[in-house]
Symmetry: D2
Subunit: 406 residues, 4 copies
């Protein structure tokens, strides 16, 4: 049945003018980075439910992450968070990871869990705290250099809870000073990916509250600084794919933190709340990859895809497999958009035709395509099923409860 399904799929897509081999090549080239903390226990402010089998340290997190790569073939890199993943000797970690067949991805500094940062890190009115925060950023650049990472992914919890609490404009300058210093320490092939967030944990103002503030900061710093879009960090109603298109047009989109939200920064499995939004994001990226402007193309091709979620009630490894597969599914659907058809309709000013050309691709079933791609990549056609059958879950149950909490 599977073969017939693929044969039919191929025939149908050819009839639509889609180059299926090119689609497959793109699917094989897709890389989705998973986060070390996504394998740990996480929760809400009300409760962190502890799960059996959660990794007890960074090394075990890497082992779990290697499983996700093993069953999907598209997750070779793992993002780490300092100090959650702080180890005595990073070369030991690097070797461990290499032995597992994966690599260390983006480095994520943590500037929000030290008591000193309660009222701000790089924006703190206390110069000593800013110094400490900047030093941590420099330390992360050094770690990146040691482990061979090229991206430093920076989220700042900095903000205030009340009007008047702090000098908004001064904080902008302090942050700029700190990041300028860090920027100077980067190797020429490293990137700073600057994240923004609408709110939380700050509830009055957040220093980098939206893409505009992150973008302006990146502009001031230079070409190695780009913006990172976390899909859960926007006001209700925000058109995220518009921001994506816009930032690519400015050569400033560097990466994504994927997750789903219905309300605030819910950090649910990506693609579970509004899969069409994820599809539309990929449509904008693919449209940019087909652009005539080489810098637009390079920017779009250079985007780092990373997952950043909080699996409060889910089994960790299955949740991550599901997340990666959801990304793959929506990416595959977006690859079926006939961009020429869209452009033609746009030029005719045919509103319904252009919308149809985009949406219809989303309504197609990409299961036969994904099965074929996975087969060609040598990974199981049904990653989650294969993982469940592998016995790994039972094996790690021996870790018991009470693993890492981030």
């Amino acid at each position: 049945m599977q073969d017939r399904a693929y044969a039919l799929f191929e025939e149908q897509q050819k009839a639509r003018g889609i180059d299926v081999e090119a689609v497959k090549a793109k699917l094989k080239a897709l890389k989705v980075e998973t986060p070390s903390w996504g394998y740990a226990d996480q929760g809400t402010r009300f409760k962190t439910f502890q799960k059996v089998g959660v990794p007890r340290n960074t090394f075990e997190k890497m082992e779990d992450a290697a499983q996700v790569h093993k069953y999907t073939g598209i997750c070779p890199a793992v993002a780490i968070h300092i100090p959650w993943d702080k180890v005595d000797d990073y070369s030991v970690l690097k070797r461990h990871v290499s032995d597992l067949g994966i690599t260390i991805g983006a480095i994520n500094p943590n500037l929000f869990q030290d008591d000193d940062y309660m009222l701000g890190s790089v924006t703190n009115s206390n110069a000593a705290v800013r110094r400490k925060a900047t030093d941590h950023l420099l330390e992360c650049v050094e770690i990146a250099r040691t482990v061979g990472s090229k991206d430093i992914s920076m989220w700042f919890a900095d903000g205030t809870n009340y009007p008047g609490q702090a000098d908004i404009r001064k904080r902008v300058h302090w942050m700029h000073e700190s990041l300028k210093e860090m920027y100077g320490a980067l190797d020429s092939d490293m990137r700073m990916l600057i994240e923004y967030k609408f709110f939380e944990p700050a509830f009055y103002h957040t220093d980098l509250a939206d893409w505009g503030m992150a973008f302006n900061m990146a502009n001031k710093l230079g070409p190695q600084a780009q913006v990172l879009v976390d899909t859960g960090h926007h006001a209700q109603g925000t058109n995220i794919e518009h921001i994506v298109a816009y930032l690519i047009g400015e050569y400033k989109l560097g990466g994504f933190h994927f997750n789903s939200r219905k309300y605030a920064d819910d950090d649910l499995i990506v693609g579970s709340v509004n899969p069409y939004e994820l599809f539309l994001i990929f449509y904008q990226i693919l449209d940019a990859i087909a652009d005539s402007d080489a810098k637009v193309r390079q920017t779009a091709e250079g985007i780092a895809y990373m997952i950043d979620q909080s699996h409060n009630i889910e089994e960790k490894i299955p949740a991550m497999l599901r997340s990666v597969m959801n990304v793959q599914t929506q990416y595959a659907k977006a690859l079926l958009i006939n961009l020429d058809e869209v452009k033609d309709a746009q030029e005719r000013q045919d509103v319904l035709g252009a919308e149809e050309a985009v949406r219809s691709a989303h309504e197609m079933d990409v299961t036969p395509l994904l099965y074929a791609v996975r087969e060609e990549m040598g990974v199981p056609v049904e990653p989650l099923k294969a993982y469940r059958a592998s016995g790994y879950g039972e094996k790690i149950a021996a870790r018991g409860k009470g693993g890492a909490s981030w």
Copy 2:
């Protein structure tokens, strides 16, 4: 200057047709319940910053709460949370509290921090978990009886994170069954106050997601069940004072959890984000207290005012004093609305006139009034200043860091 200010205030209000003595009587009758957990360390999912001097147990929480009553004169009752405030012998707690010149207010069951409740408490598809949850509710009724509380304030974290995760309609029935059993255990002078919440910690659906669901549940249970409005538990844009007016008109508003929010359930100091909203809530309540329908009046007069906040970065006792004072300030401003003037304008269909009659009261300064009221009540005219001068803050510093985390 203070005397002249009050004399002028009185003269101005008389000229507006306001009975200042009646206003003062109402201000003296205002009672605002503070929550035991508001004195403890609380935080966001990212971090709980520990403060020096935080109470180490329920007895110390009560001592701190007694300070708030001492300096304001309007906070004689303290809400408790079970099991955060679980003690071996509630009569000992009751005596301690009584010695402090205060009483125990609403009992708050906790159905969200036990591992069993990860996928629901009274709505869990596992009957044993529902039984356990119901037993906890019955235990809380018993505790209420022991400590002399009349209100049981019930917030359910129950909900789901994903489509399909659970049977939405069955969960409604399960919750109803459980609450029916609890309702049957109430003394005739006890109330169940049913809270609702838009989202968090559930991110797909929350079983009691809005006032309508809580109201319908209360209707099914009977007259001793009413709705509790937490000012931070609504969708963006929701007109809370409309819900307040509506529920009073249905005789079903039982109480408030006051706090402020700009984004989600931020749990900031009440009155710090949009003080006008708090004022408009009081306007609707005062309008109901002046109604010709006796049941409307009784409902409005029976509303329990409680604070429910999370002081993540603030000093606890000062934050609570500020909260209570903010409630008092906005209540005082609302008492200056000339309701007859509003009604006259409404009858003339004078939109601008009616709006002016309401808003203008908010623009007045009630400092002289509050000073006079406090003086007559025998409490400091400036509660926060007096508290700071008292040395209590320095005394409790001896408790060190690492107090109760709820």
Copy 3:
């Protein structure tokens, strides 16, 4: 290719345990009512762009609506709006409609475009205005009787723009009085469908602001009164399918006004913004239709599906065809959910499994299924394409610009 696609589809679904014939029967039974005003020129407050070929009167609107039925086979009824569709002799209209092979669907009273209603219709503090509004409602019952409609679909624009502008609780009573009178005039097989709306055109409070207020009103009126859900009338983030499930559980969901929104009441083509939401709504309805409670089943089966959109920039008939097809597509996808699989996963408390059982149906391609169903129904497999080829659009161009504006 089409035949092979269907054969494969059938085989795949059978393997999943789906009864394809039952699915097809349900698809053939689906009825979607289109609104007469959806064929007219509509716009935003900034501008109504006039289109060539727009119907100049109700008779022409019906002719256009008949086209939508002709090409889809599932739109036999057309909702009308009084007075937009007021005619001298409704029996003439009824005959015209009948000649076109369609019927008149829900009657929609209009209580917002008369100068008298500026400050409210059935909630106006002026009794004469309330009388006039009530008389219009009674007139609509009479029209329904004349044209053979069973549903009266009632949306009230009533509300206020400023705090204090009106007495919120009195307005509730006035509305109730008016609707009680109308309810008394209904035939025993007629329904009142009570719509609610978060805001617009009222910007401070809307008398029926949410499902809870509409539900409570329907409860007070009796079993012939039910709630109508317009998918664009909620606060951001609202879980609409939760409300749908809840109202069915209370036997009070009567109908839908379908449309899409990203921001406010955008009134775009249904299924164009977040198709998954529409799918999830249908999932809840189908789940209810499979319930063991007969009243739940009847309620779910009695739901009236209606489109209510504003085609500001689209060609009218194609936009309506697209809308109807989108409803059909998402309904078809929801019919592929294996409800037993969902229930099993729910009982095992398998969060990821239950979610997967729902979402996976959405990822399937229902094109072969819809082609087969349409063929069996004797309508074109590609309705929009067939309509475009028919020449009707060119024919009505003769109407010119300046057709009906509602």
Copy 4:
């Protein structure tokens, strides 16, 4: 009583360290521009209710605007909208306005009411439409030159309703090209104020959707281009005063369109929904005016304050007087913030103290201050009352119904 009130106010403020004379000077210097269209009939997409006495043309709009200046003394300029206020000879209009003791303020091009602009103006894929739109912008520069205006206030309705409808990135370039041409036509003392809007009338994407897009455009154009903040054009929850502070810090805040919103772009009377927000905006501006950076100071001092509202149900002139008075009231309250006290608390990292220093000023009554200022300016102490007593409203009733609809 009024004199005693002022004497007491002065004494109190001096005790707080406020320089009352400086405050009064600032209040006298405040200028609030009113919009010609705010005197006309406006409505929602559902209905425009026509009012008696509405101006029938631009000349009459100016006469009404002159009344608002007459009674407040702070509204000497009137914004006009082209083509709503198109006249044959602008020098005649200029003379008329001058005779009324006022001037013409910002010029507002209209690029959304011509049929050609249905799918975009300066972003239209049709070059001829873009040319036409650009020519209109150039025409507006010419009109500005003729009537002596220095600000051109530009709001673009441009956007799309559906995914795929248009090429998002191309539209950015087209808009840039057009505005560059316009920028080149400006006199050296003219400003382009670029407005942004979250949504409406476009419901999928709006080309200038947020401050970041307007800011980036202004940056590319040059120093004569700045951003205009309309207080109703943001996503729910957006911290507007943060954006205000940020833009001033970048020397790019040029002006405001004031109005109130609870939901979307409700365009209600400014200060009627959340007066504290308006106060906090002024706090940020005053904080910037006290900055040590001269360019920050100049930017803050150069901000143009304009009202942009839709008086759907209100009497026009009284609604405008109320709006202006609300701005004045909140500005006056913000002037009472002791900025040194705030800074001191910020430096001590005293969160509650800093918040208190800001909020407490909002709780003060500025009536005595405003009466004194008005008296010294030679305008009535109660502008609305004086206007009502003047008989002007009765006089213009002779205009009848059916005045200008914008």
